[in-house]
Symmetry: C2
Subunit: 141 residues, 2 copies
């Protein structure tokens, strides 16, 4: 089954990041270690990891590649609220939410460690009550 | 609810990446566009996006930050099989799977576009039949 099970962003200041992600997005840590913290995500585990944590884990390995991450919400109004809350918690507003070419409503922020996060509503992508995004059945399938 | 809804990796060659991720990990595309493709992930949407697709989406915005991604599997044997299959499909072996300090079994590969992917078994992290990783209940919670 196609999956990613753990997705970790790199943050320089772990206590600061735990506070930021709590205030900005309501994330509650599950397990905390010296250089990383895990959160229960929507079907996978979210991680925040310091650069030194990454060095310990992956001695001599290449730096991970860039990933574009998005938080999808059930309505445009919730996007506005989430962007405002993130900025209030210390995020930098990169792009005010606007209606975009693909028919959704999307804005961008960065966390204080320059991780870029899209906050979006996509009317074509249903979200379950427990926060999972499930693509619609394909025509003919 | 704490979530990431869309996680996209950057790949230079979209048709090649669709072939690679199909052969390496069995990923089946849901929706394909000129510069990106979406897959149903375990509770979220997986994306592969070309650099030009990213430029169109995010004119003038900073490059996304690095993310460490892992595919977790139910047993060490499945890790060995998955690493071998990925390498056979064109992945570069970065680290042979070994038993690691946190008690699991983990190897690393890169895709042909230098995205680093951990393939791991974590005996403490249950995986549901539909591929979601659910952290165990905390003691006292």
């Amino acid at each position: 089954m196609q999956r990613l099970s753990l997705i970790s962003l790199i943050v320089d200041d772990l206590p600061g990041a735990i506070t930021f992600y709590g205030d900005a997005f309501g994330w509650k840590p599950h397990t905390r270690h010296d250089s990383l913290v895990f959160y229960q995500g929507n079907g996978f585990v979210l991680g925040l990891m310091t650069p030194s944590g990454w060095e310990e884990e992956a001695t001599g390995q290449p730096r991970p590649g860039p990933a574009c991450v998005a938080i999808n919400l059930p309505s445009p109004e919730e996007v506005d609220t989430a962007v405002a809350q993130a900025v209030s918690a210390g995020a930098t507003l990169v792009k005010d939410p606007v209606t975009v070419s693909w028919g959704g409503y999307s804005g961008y922020v960065t966390d204080p460690w320059n991780n870029l996060i899209e906050i979006a509503h996509n009317p074509d992508w249903p979200i379950t009550a427990d926060g999972r995004t499930l693509l619609p059945p394909l025509e003919g399938s």
